[in-house]
């Protein structure tokens, strides 16, 4: 039953993806992107990743969509018709896909407990979490305690990106002001 629900949701995800790739109206594409993120969150719940699902629903479907719509408001809604034929990209993407599908034959089947990923360090946290930290949600204890440095690095990345965005946009404001001043002077003279 679990794997059937999983299969149906994943198929829906694939259909939405086809829509995202084919549509040329960017507003529709961004809204489809929001639907995609909510579907992804549902898939993640079926895959038992509840914390990730919450983050994906709020960040992927919420913040990303709002950011994209804001930028769309400042630019153009309709995408231009491509001037090149898409043969080379199709070939590159298709070739990569074929090689990757060939690679899946070497991977363990879905949902088994005795695969390498499920028998080593990940599962050790399940036994250690309560005695070490007293936190029942193991994802939280690994994120904030065992791998706290990862989270620190993540915060650094987000901080750097924030500074980058501020610098980019502030410089834009000053440049636009400069250009307007130049135009005014030109029109005067």
């Amino acid at each position: 039953m679990e794997s059937l629900i999983n299969m149906v949701l994943l198929s829906l995800l694939a259909v939405v993806t086809i829509g995202v790739v084919r549509l040329r109206n960017l507003f529709a594409v961004i809204i489809l992107g929001g639907i995609y993120s909510f579907l992804m969150a549902s898939v993640l719940i079926v895959l038992d990743a509840v914390d990730v699902a919450m983050t994906e629903a709020s960040v992927g479907a919420g913040i990303s969509t709002v950011l994209m719509l804001t930028v769309l408001y400042m630019t153009r809604v309709e995408e231009a018709k491509p001037v090149h034929t898409p043969m080379l990209p199709i070939f590159v993407a298709g070739g990569t896909g074929a090689v990757l599908v060939y690679g899946t034959w070497g991977l363990p089947a879905f949902g088994l407990a005795d695969t390498p990923i499920n028998t080593h360090v990940g599962m050790a946290y399940m036994d250690l979490s309560i005695p070490d930290t007293g936190i029942p949600n193991v994802v939280t204890s690994v994120l904030a305690s065992y791998r706290g440095f990862d989270t620190f690095g993540e915060t650094t990345v987000v901080f750097t990106a924030g500074i980058g965005v501020l610098l980019l946009l502030r410089r834009g404001v000053s440049l636009a002001r400069l250009r307007r001043k130049q135009q005014e002077e030109e029109s005067k003279s």
């Binding site: 950011l67 407990a113 979490s129 690994v142 980019l168 946009l169």
Partner: protein, 122 residues
């Protein structure tokens, strides 16, 4: 169910690959910068699936320790992907900031139109 077994065993992988390839195609083939960023996030979300799917154990439950529960799914991929999602939105914001700047300077976000403007300037 029995007939579906061989398909179910690798279905997650195949969808992951499909999303990844779709993202790659959009990034390479489309000239619109917002569309390119959307393709990039398609690629990114396919990586979430790539990590989370193998950590799932059928019949298991979310890794929150409770009474009378025997089987839990693997918590480690969840932690890694939580970090990836937040870093992903940070890079997306930076990319969109660049798009806004490019639009201010060139008046367009289409790659081809920017190239023709550059050629005309020379």
């Amino acid at each position: 169910m029995e007939v579906l077994q061989p398909i179910l065993a690798h279905f997650n992988h195949w969808i992951t690959i499909f999303l990844m390839v779709a993202g790659l195609y959009v990034v390479v083939a489309r000239g619109n910068m917002i569309k390119k960023l959307i393709g990039l996030s398609l690629f990114q979300t396919s990586v979430y699936l790539l990590y989370i799917s193998p950590g799932k154990i059928l019949g298991g439950t979310a890794p929150i320790i409770g009474d009378n529960i025997e089987v839990y799914s693997n918590p480690l991929p969840h932690v890694l992907i939580l970090t990836a999602i937040v870093v992903g939105v940070a890079t997306l914001a930076l990319g969109l900031g660049l798009v806004v700047r490019i639009n201010e300077v060139y008046g367009t976000i289409e790659e081809d139109e920017i190239f023709t403007q550059e050629d005309d300037d020379e």
